[in-house]
Symmetry: C2
Subunit: 333 residues, 2 copies
């Protein structure tokens, strides 16, 4: 899975994702699609992908737990899970393709850390290979056609997921969101538009897909992300420098709780881990990396832990999470 | 100092103290005492104690910090500190004598843990040695005469200081206090009558000194203390058995905070340490003893920590306390 690798700038960036919306020229858009057509699209895509290292998961008929894990891994959307027609996802290490979500195909590359160029190259190359087998809906005037006009053109959404404890705690984040929104870039919570924003995790992505090239889009996004990374690092250092003891007190109390508790809810975990992250970013932990923390942010989510205990007992889940965290943080001070 | 030794039943009992109120026959009681008489009593007592391993501390003229340390060590009372006439305390490892507090002399033996017999033998033997040099105020009818009639007779107050986290947390403590008060035994907070009771520490002592022998008094007190020790152990085990995970969660979160924080107030310390104590009592810590915790309860008090930092900066004091606790708890899991 993508989060098993390390990456660049993982002190601030959890993941870089680029997804391309594509539709087949000879089928109605999803929503107006009969089951037979939906199945036909899946089969045609399977065939086109026969040379790729991608496994098909039938989201439509899969167990809810497994779909939720894919959601937590940021490989599928909640819209795909609630689809009324046949649908699924092709999953590889970094590449995936949702079939019959809002568009027929949503190709995605997701990488640990910050690397827009690599993510774009990977998904773009997959796109070319696929295009040689499948007739894409494309207009000379509008570019790639999509169900929702806001995706037409490049069909590209590039998102960088940021962990911003210092900007959040110092209450600088709202100023930044306001400023950034004026630059054609959107900042949202962890799972996109319809989610409750997690207090410390933000997804920064391009707003516009029409009348702009992929390269320009990525450049614009990168400028904003570079700026936010810089600000997060600066504020984190400032928080430390301004009151080192208070800072260490917060960081190591969070560590002490994470490393010693016997029951830990997702919410408590997500509220403690930012302090450990800030400790890593200021050099307070020698034996924990920012990538380690980013992996925990994915793997401590409810469905991931539920899979380990094998049933959906909430109490046992919180106990297992605590147990995994104790093991992870053992002797890490 | 007394708390540097270990002792019996330290899982529940912090200390055993026996004090004897004595007055000189040829002097007015304190309160009606001129400075010359007060000084004379000190000098006479010094002389009488010349063969003993006791150091005299002039509480009347000592620095407030050092008096507060003696108070935290349970060697003097706040009444002695606020005395308007010359006064002081003779201090040895386990024996001490307050001079010119409510009575001319208050002989005390304090031991770590639970040992009424040893404490009585030690203070009683000191009393005999002193009596051979000083003319005690004694009546055949009333026994030893004291300023307050409630101390006359044996003049003895035997106190056992108990740390009762399980009974406190389980809210069984009030039932016990009510029951015990009917048995001629008093239960109070840490520093005696005029203090805010610390939430987890109780002092159990005899009520009556007149018309009852020392042996009877101690027997009565011991019966009550034995019963409370038994109940505390039983409830602690029950709390663990009823929900081991919740219990361990509380215990190790407290440990995690104590072992990792960079600022710790006395109040927070006193509210976390009971959970560690319960962890020790249920065998969850191999490398910490109950005596260790009892020592911390004394040495983490404000004046003790202030002495180490050398000034009375509250912030620095809480930081030093946290530092001492980190050192103590390091690698104790």
């Amino acid at each position: 899975m993508w989060y098993e690798s390390n990456g660049k700038d993982t002190d601030v960036v959890i993941s870089t994702r680029i997804r391309l919306a594509r539709n087949l020229a000879d089928k109605p858009f999803p929503g107006k699609l009969y089951s037979e057509d939906a199945t036909d699209i899946i089969e045609k895509t399977k065939k086109a992908l026969s040379g790729e290292k991608l496994d098909f998961i039938n989201v439509f008929s899969a167990e809810p737990l497994y779909n939720t894990i894919l959601l937590e891994d940021h490989l599928i959307s909640s819209e795909l899970i609630s689809s009324k027609t046949p649908c699924g996802v092709f999953v590889g290490e970094n590449l995936s393709i949702m079939v019959n979500e809002e568009d027929h195909l949503r190709l995605q590359c997701v990488l640990s850390g910050y690397d827009l160029e690599k993510a774009y190259n990977m998904v773009s190359s997959l796109d070319s290979r696929l295009e040689s087998h499948l007739p894409y809906a494309f207009s000379e005037k509008y570019g790639y056609l999509t169900k929702c006009p806001t995706n037409a053109g490049t069909g590209m959404r590039a998102s960088v997921m940021l962990h911003l404890p210092a900007l959040t705690i110092s209450e600088n984040i709202n100023t930044i969101i306001t400023a950034v929104n004026k630059l054609g870039v959107t900042v949202r919570g962890m799972y996109g538009e319809n989610s409750n924003a997690n207090a410390y995790i933000y997804q920064v992505s391009n707003q516009v897909t029409l009348g702009i090239s992929e390269e320009e889009t990525l450049k614009k996004l990168a400028d904003v992300v570079d700026m936010i990374i810089e600000k997060e690092r600066h504020i984190c250092k400032t928080l430390y420098d301004n009151s080192p003891t208070l800072f260490k007190d917060k960081v190591f109390r969070a560590f002490g709780t994470l490393a010693n508790s016997y029951s830990m809810s997702t919410e408590e975990f997500m509220n403690l881990i930012p302090y450990v992250k800030m400790g890593i970013c200021t050099g307070l932990f020698e034996n924990i990396s920012a990538s380690d923390i980013n992996r925990l942010i994915i793997t401590m989510q409810p469905a991931h832990v539920t899979k380990i205990i094998g049933n959906d007992n909430f109490r046992k889940r919180d106990e297992m999470r605590a147990s995994l965290l104790r093991d992870f943080f053992k002797e890490k001070r």
